[in-house]
């Protein structure tokens, strides 16, 4: 398969125009670490943005950073940490799911997949920090939306549309984010031995408190390891002493927590963000469920029950319970029917984040949408990419 590696936005536009003229669809890639996401794309060539790289704007006092879409996430994080700042939403690499070199994961992929880590429950998703985009649509036109200021309601918000569109509406060429000061330090309270229901109640109580819990996860017991329920707080050193104490007091019904401080706390959350609690998933299918937090334990127990005959489901909770990562057997429909049946009464959606290509071709990778939303989705695709040149079928057939 042909590969293009344009080094300018104009070159990207030229490649898309020519692909449209020839009616030859393009697979869009950044660092290539997310190519195993979504439905398999039937494309004549790959358009890789790995040469479209570099920070284009960084104003620490304005809390804003912009970069070409192929810029490695690692480079963005390095530049930001030099000024004691960070992206607010803990972007994960997720190479445990897809393989590839985590150092190559690009900022464009973070946007295209709207990837957010543990801090999402507090600070919003990637799309909430994204304030500007430039992209090339399916006609090879270069379009901008948003900009470099954090408050901007001028015109339709295409910034949000581009985030989480998996490259099916446009080829991102440049993205701009609002950033935040990094806190002086952090701490994590760790409770042991809670059931899933108790744990989500504990996380919820923490998130409903005034002490700004910035991450809230529960890892159920596995062979040899007790269940652990984790709540993170961040801020000044003096704040951590105070908030750690009052938060532990407020949650004393759930036991006496151990406390992870500073780097130890940060390391634990980095592992959680990269799905370490699922263990080795190299022969599994992995699902990402977003649901109503206090309904999550019920969803999890239905999934456990449904999978008992194949392989035991391994799972853990993030985002206060509202996010459930599940590893199941990739056989058959990779658990799609049972998982979607379990989540349906609780509200939310399930995405198949890792599975063999033939499974991703056969089952709905993304939650099937109700009729009106699907109709709107097709209408939108038509306005951006009428000849379905960009990542066709990556999310939904015909989109």
């Amino acid at each position: 398969m042909a590969e293009f590696h344009p080094d300018s936005e104009d070159a990207v536009a030229g490649i898309v125009r020519s692909a449209r003229d020839k009616a030859e669809p393009l697979e869009i890639a950044g660092g290539g670490t997310k190519r195993g996401f979504g439905r398999p794309v039937q494309a004549a060539a790959t358009l890789s943005l790995d040469k479209l790289s570099g920070v284009t704007l960084y104003e620490p006092s304005e809390l804003v950073i912009g970069a070409k879409a192929g810029t490695p996430l690692a480079e963005i994080e390095r530049v930001l940490s030099g000024k004691n700042q960070r992206l607010p939403f803990d972007p994960p690499r997720l190479t445990a799911l897809t393989g590839g070199d985590p150092a190559k994961a690009s900022i464009g992929a973070v946007v295209a997949c709207n990837l957010s880590g543990p801090r999402r429950v507090h600070a919003g998703a990637a799309r909430d920090s994204l304030i500007g985009v430039r992209f090339v649509n399916g006609a090879g036109e270069t379009i901008k939306s948003g900009g470099r200021v954090m408050k901007n309601v001028t015109g339709l918000d295409l910034v949000k549309l581009m985030s989480g569109a998996f490259g099916t509406l446009g080829v991102l060429t440049e993205v701009t984010f609002k950033v935040l000061p990094a806190p002086e330090t952090e701490a994590t309270l760790v409770f042991e031995g809670l059931s899933d229901e108790q744990a989500v109640a504990c996380l919820s109580a923490g998130l409903c408190s005034p002490w700004e819990v910035t991450a809230a996860s529960h890892v159920p017991a596995t062979d040899g390891d007790p269940a652990r329920t984790l709540l993170r707080i961040e801020g000044f050193e003096s704040q951590m002493a105070y908030r750690g104490r009052v938060l532990a007091e407020a949650l004393e019904d759930h036991g006496t927590p151990a406390i992870l401080r500073g780097a130890e706390s940060a390391a634990r959350w980095a592992e959680i963000g990269e799905l370490e609690p699922l263990g080795d998933v190299s022969s599994d299918a992995v699902w990402k469920l977003s649901t109503t937090p206090d309904r999550a334990p019920g969803v999890a127990s239905a999934i456990r029950a449904a999978n008992r005959n194949t392989m035991d489901a391994r799972l853990f909770y993030d985002w206060g319970g509202g996010l459930v990562w599940v590893a199941v057997s990739p056989e058959g429909d990779a658990g799609a029917g049972a998982i979607r049946a379990a989540i349906s009464p609780a509200g939310g959606h399930a995405t198949l984040m890792r599975a063999p290509e033939e499974v991703r071709a056969a089952v709905d990778v993304f939650e099937p949408l109700p009729g009106p939303a699907m109709a709107m989705t097709r209408q939108l695709k038509q306005t951006f990419d009428p000849d379905r040149i960009l990542n066709p079928g990556r999310m939904y057939a015909g989109v």
Binding site: E62, A139, S145, V149, V153, P181, C208, S238, G347, F384
Partner: protein, 490 residues
């Protein structure tokens, strides 16, 4: 009426007025269709009072289902539709057209579900912004976006304009606080988006609807994120001898990793007007003033404020007043919060809403005063400094047509300046009719065509809130993107 053009009135619609009214009455009941001139008068304008236009009728449905039937009817009849919350738009977003029916959501104002464990509230969209916070206050929660008009403005309008407020530096704007929406499309289709979970499956349709200014559909219900209230909050008032010092202080506070919940800026004219009105104890001998608010426990507030005051003194602060009590906090805020009312007492004004990169603040303020001097108009600056969202208030006499024209031209020049320095036309008020013709200063024809193709796809007859947001020429856009044509009207 001033310079902004409205589309030609569709006489065929006026001719079938009686039949349309009868059909609307069948759907919502005669009582909720307003067609008498004296009653319609209340709907002829919004907070952009320079523009007035009586609509064909106003209809006030009570349910999503009624909204659906109303839209389906008006779509089939080819009648324009202007959605309306409380009519507080400063951009003319709710200005009626003579051949339009205003669909108001004021009767749909119920709280449907409070779910504190999942930190969410479901409401009908006609509820006021402040009533949402009021409904959850006893549980220790609040709804974060806090536009100045929050006593009156509705969630429908907030979603339509993607409204902000003073505290979005920390908590974000409306789109960052939405979990779900019920939207009625032009043909009456009801679409449910999101719920109590995070992130959308598929395209971010909630993100697209938010801030779409009633162009794509009408929002009838919303699931909103509610947040636990901080233990406490206190502001400090800082006075400076120059706008530049105050601007540099804002940059330094942020640069040092402090993140206040609000940083409000007022220049000398604004300070004087607010002080005369509210007697807040503002210093009258300074050129610029900041109100910086932090949250947390007493000790946390103390620590953050002392750091902020130190930064302020390094930047030449000549006046520092820390609120020590709730009453002192309220006194500091009362002037700022009554600013627009205070201003209205001494003069008519146009409230601009551009955003700029905060680093350009001092030079932009100088240029704004030069622009206003050039038109012979006064200006007072009040704005959210932390995020660069400016609100220059251009003072003029509404009864003097020449001054109104000057004020509009002056405002346009200020907004063009915002775009020039890397900012945008509107940070939180929306484009509406007010900034419609300036869109070509921020976007080129290709950018606008992409937006208008979306409009055309979801509202093929351009019936929803027409004559707003998009310039009148060059539309409707082609349904499919074609290569740009040289010389095409932008």
């Amino acid at each position: 009426m001033s310079s902004l053009a409205l589309p030609e009135v569709d006489e065929t619609v006026l001719a079938k007025r009686d039949r349309i009214l009868a059909q609307l009455e069948e759907i919502v009941g005669a009582r909720w269709v307003i067609s008498e001139e004296d009653e319609l008068r209340a709907y002829e304008t919004d907070a952009l009072t320079a523009y007035r236009q009586m609509p064909l009728a106003v209809v006030l449905p009570a349910t999503t289902e009624e909204v659906s039937r109303v839209l389906a009817l008006l779509d089939a009849e080819g009648v324009k539709i202007v959605g309306r919350g409380a009519g507080t738009s400063l951009a003319g977003g709710a200005l009626p057209l003579a051949d339009s029916v205003v669909v108001g959501v004021s009767r749909m104002n119920r709280v449907l579900d409070i779910d504190s464990a999942n930190r969410a509230i479901r409401v009908e969209s006609g509820i006021t912004n402040l009533a949402v916070s009021g409904a959850v206050e006893h549980l220790g929660f609040f709804y974060a976006p806090d536009p100045s008009s929050q006593l009156a403005c509705t969630i429908a309008g907030n979603v339509g304009m993607n409204s902000g407020g003073a505290h979005c530096l920390k908590y974000g704007v409306t789109t960052n606080n939405l979990l779900g929406l019920t939207v009625v499309l032009i043909d009456g289709t009801v679409i449910e988006l999101g719920g109590k979970h995070l992130d959308s499956p598929g395209f971010d349709l909630i993100g697209l609807i938010s801030g779409s200014e009633g162009q794509l559909g009408l929002v009838t219900e919303a699931v909103l994120r509610i947040l636990p209230k901080a233990e406490g909050a206190r502001p400090v008032l800082l006075g400076f001898n120059s706008n530049a010092d105050a601007g540099a202080c804002v940059s330094d506070v942020i640069g040092q990793g402090l993140l206040p919940v609000a940083i409000e800026f007022m220049d000398r004219p604004a300070i004087r007007i607010c002080e005369d009105f509210a007697h807040a104890g503002y210093p009258l001998d300074v050129e610029a003033m900041l109100i910086v608010e932090v949250e947390g426990s007493e000790a946390e507030i103390e620590e953050q404020l002392s750091k902020i005051v130190a930064v302020a003194r390094d930047n030449g602060a000549v006046h520092v007043r820390e609120a020590k009590t709730a009453a002192e906090s309220a006194a500091i805020w009362v002037g700022r919060k009554s600013a627009f009312g205070a201003m209205g007492r001494i003069s008519d004004y146009m409230c601009m809403d551009g955003t700029i990169p905060t680093g350009r603040l001092p030079e932009v303020l100088v240029k704004i005063s030069e622009i206003c001097e050039g038109y012979g108009l006064g200006v007072a600056n009040i704005f959210h400094a932390g995020d660069g969202n400016l609100h220059p208030l251009v003072l003029y006499d509404v009864n003097d047509p020449e001054q109104l024209q000057k004020a509009e031209d002056c405002g346009a020049d200020i907004l063009k300046l915002c775009v020039e320095v890397g900012g945008c036309l509107t940070g939180e008020h929306g484009v509406g009719i007010e900034k419609r013709d300036l869109m070509t200063d921020q976007f080129n024809a290709t950018d606008l065509d992409q937006q208008m193709r979306i409009k055309s796809a979801l509202d093929p007859q351009w019936l929803l809130n027409p004559a707003k947001v998009f310039p009148l020429d060059g539309r409707p856009a082609p349904a499919r993107p074609e290569p740009p044509v040289a010389g095409k009207a932008a």
